[in-house]
């Protein structure tokens, strides 16, 4: 009953500070808040991580020959998965930095877990290029430092820019996430009854007392970090797209790549936020904090970025004709529209181009089924997009005699499944051990929603209207 009336709010139900503390804090402080399903998913995640470790160990033992990569398709599943994961990481920073700077209060209840997702996704992403080098123990060579080789990395190569982009993105996101957690750590420290939990949260809270000075410093720090991260949202995936756009490979040498990649990243990222957000709010009874309004707006972002991406697909088709480059046109006609991989191209058009169009309908944007369905389709579609771009272009290059089809090997699939498991494990552990929703920002939002009426904990709950 209440739902239909206050559906349109960012916080619903009878809420005060204590109820928010409880509904979020209980996931961390009370192990009974988690059902057996949590444990089952943890097992799935741990098994996936095990598979990941086995496939990494086998890869290091055997060399990259265990992958399906060949010449000409020297970039296969590894780079597809790298770009896919790094794209998924983008929603977190967009929500935390850009929406913060734009004073979008609807970020408050979804920023924490999407930031966590960002960090975990970048961890999964980072693995691939590091292992792709074939000698991961020498990966520190990627960084410019005065070494005994007398060599610097190739500064003109977008692959090196990528090293900077991704490592900066990861470290800034991690610091941003941690800084945002500090006031919540303090809340949990004060609420914790378990001695060890209290000690750990006290350590993490770094002496936070909630004084005016602390808040002042916090705001300064948080906004500075947001200012640093905001351009990263655009730069990281632009630079990832340069890995392709700077080269002369047909299907890669397209100027639309940077904006098209960034839109795709936000697209994939929000899909993943929805995929995690819906079960999270359902199983942990957080519908009053992650409301249908959040879902509605995220679906609108999916629709908008989906249209940009779709426009990118149109441009790719247009440019392969307009460029007058016969190899570009051959790639389009013989590899994308037709040929052994054509089904992946058409599946991409269906997943990314057509599926999100359902969100033109108001009802679809708040329907759990359509949200989950479209988000999964978008995740698959974004993976297919990278598959279409990377191996499909490489298998048909300028030299027809070296054309060779690409097939992933068992270990390619195992490692991809492994990173999915690793990501799941980290998310599941995150839900158990860290506040999934930003407690103090939601309280701040509640304060603003209640018309800035002063009220204190323990007071009778006030109906939010």
């Amino acid at each position: 009953m209440a739902d239909s009336r206050i559906n349109d709010l960012l916080i619903t139900g009878d809420q005060n500070y204590a109820t928010i503390d409880h509904s979020v804090g209980r996931l961390v402080l009370d192990s009974k808040a988690h059902s057996i399903a949590w444990f089952k998913w943890l097992i799935v995640g741990v098994m996936g991580s095990g598979l990941l470790m086995v496939s990494i160990a086998w890869l290091i033992f055997q060399g990259t020959g265990t992958w399906g990569n060949n010449i000409p398709a020297a970039w296969g599943f590894d780079i597809v998965n790298f770009v896919w994961w790094i794209g998924i990481g983008h929603a977190g920073t967009l929500i935390s930095a850009i929406l913060l700077l734009l004073r979008q209060q609807w970020r408050n209840s979804i920023n924490r877990f999407s930031e966590a997702m960002t960090i975990f996704a970048v961890m999964c992403a980072g693995l691939y290029p590091l292992l792709h080098t074939g000698r991961p123990w020498n990966d520190y060579w990627l960084f410019p430092y005065p070494n005994i080789l007398g060599m610097w990395p190739q500064f003109r190569s977008p692959l090196l820019w990528d090293v900077f982009a991704v490592s900066t993105y990861f470290s800034v996101s991690l610091v941003f996430w941690f800084v945002g957690l500090v006031p919540d750590f303090a809340t949990l420290r004060d609420k914790a009854t378990n001695r060890y939990a209290k000690l750990i949260f006290a350590l993490l809270a770094m002496g936070w007392r909630g004084s005016a000075k602390h808040w002042h410093r916090y705001e300064q720090m948080y906004y500075i970090l947001a200012g640093i991260s905001a351009p990263l949202v655009l730069s990281v995936h632009s630079i990832v797209s340069f890995d392709f756009a700077i080269s002369i490979v047909p299907g890669w040498n397209v100027t639309v790549f940077p904006p098209y990649f960034v839109a795709g990243a936000v697209f994939a990222g929000f899909a993943m936020v929805i995929i995690w957000g819906i079960p999270l709010r359902k199983y942990y009874k957080l519908e009053h904090l992650i409301t249908n309004r959040h879902m509605d707006w995220m679906a609108k972002i999916l629709l908008a970025t989906g249209l940009i991406v779709f426009y990118g697909y149109f441009l790719e088709v247009f440019y392969s004709w307009y460029s007058g480059n016969s190899y570009e046109f051959k790639l389009l006609m013989k590899t994308r529209f037709d040929g052994m991989y054509a089904k992946f191209y058409w599946a991409l058009i269906f997943c990314n181009g057509l599926c999100p169009q359902i969100f033109w309908w108001n009802k679809a944007r708040t329907s759990t089924f359509w949200l989950i369905f479209v988000s999964i389709m978008v995740s698959i579609g974004m993976w297919l997009e990278r598959f279409v771009i990377i191996p499909m272009s490489l298998t048909n290059n300028y030299l027809p005699s070296s054309d060779k089809p690409y097939y992933p090997s068992f270990w390619d699939l195992a490692m991809f499944a492994g990173t999915l498991g690793f990501f799941t494990m980290l998310m599941i552990l995150f839900i158990r051990f860290l506040p999934t929703i930003n407690i103090f920002e939601v309280k701040d939002l509640l304060f603003k929603m209640k018309g800035k009426k002063e009220f204190v904990e323990g007071q009778e709950p006030v109906e939010v209207a």
Binding site: I148, L149, G150, M151, A186, R189, D190
Partner: protein, 256 residues
């Protein structure tokens, strides 16, 4: 229990931790950098145990035996050559025939099994190095190997790290004019011949009467020519010998 989990002295620990986080990685990085450049890693000037305590100082400096007497292929091949037992025995079948130090040499000769010398100058398998080209361009042995004529037990004269190789490969003009005095004294000789003529001059004149570069080479302090004049001379030699310095530091020169 209130929010005061820690006592006030935790603040000092926190301060120390912040300093530690800032300084720690830097210290570790610098320590690793220093360690990788130190003799502990490079083995420069660290004598290596050998089955027979062979002295270059004695054979090369005191007796004046030419390098090529033992390292026979240094001018013609990538590998300078380690002398066979027969080479040792060409003298030691006549002199010091009862020396206990030479017992392994005699053993080796009698049983027809080579002596297992411990390699001092090792390069990784992925580096292709050729002695003959370096000798033919007139690079004196000591420039890389240090003052061999002074070594009682053989040791590495330089780190042989890539950065060290590249000093010359990126600026060969600085390393080719060391022999200009020698060239004036022996005008007919090629750079290859001057490499070995250098030891004759060293024997004859002693360290006190050499040019600056020659003295540095004798003492293993040679770091290439500094003066613009010598560098110009080096450039002239590059032209004369047909060296292409622009491709000398390409990856494929050493990593094929």
């Amino acid at each position: 229990m209130g929010s005061q989990v820690f006592k006030p002295n935790a603040n000092s620990i926190a301060h120390m931790a912040i300093i530690g986080i800032a300084v720690g990685p830097l210290t570790i990085g610098l320590a690793l950098a220093a360690l990788s450049r130190s003799p502990a890693n490079t083995k420069v000037n660290i004598a290596k145990n050998q089955p027979v305590p062979f002295s270059h100082q004695h054979h090369n400096w005191e007796l004046g035996i030419d390098c090529r007497y033992c390292h026979t292929s240094v001018e013609k091949s990538s590998f300078a050559g380690i002398p066979s037992t027969e080479t040792c025995m060409s003298c030691h079948s006549q002199i010091w025939t009862n020396s206990p130090l030479l017992e392994p040499v005699r053993q080796s000769y009698e049983t027809n099994t080579p002596i297992k010398w411990n390699k001092v100058n090792k390069l990784p398998d992925f580096v292709y190095f050729n002695h003959s080209i370096h000798i033919n361009r007139g690079l004196q042995c000591n420039i890389c190997h240090g003052s061999m004529q002074d070594e009682h037990i053989t040791m590495k004269g330089n780190s042989f790290q890539m950065a060290w190789c590249l000093q010359c490969h990126r600026a060969p003009e600085r390393y080719l004019a060391w022999n200009k005095d020698l060239k004036k004294e022996y005008p007919g000789l090629t750079p290859r011949e001057l490499v070995f003529k250098y030891y004759w001059k060293l024997q004859k004149e002693g360290k006190g009467n050499l040019s600056q570069s020659e003295t540095q080479i004798a003492n293993n302090t040679y770091n290439g020519e500094e003066s613009p004049k010598d560098v110009e001379d080096g450039k002239a030699i590059i032209k004369e010998l047909g060296i292409k310095p622009q491709q000398l530091a390409d990856c494929t020169v050493c990593h094929r």
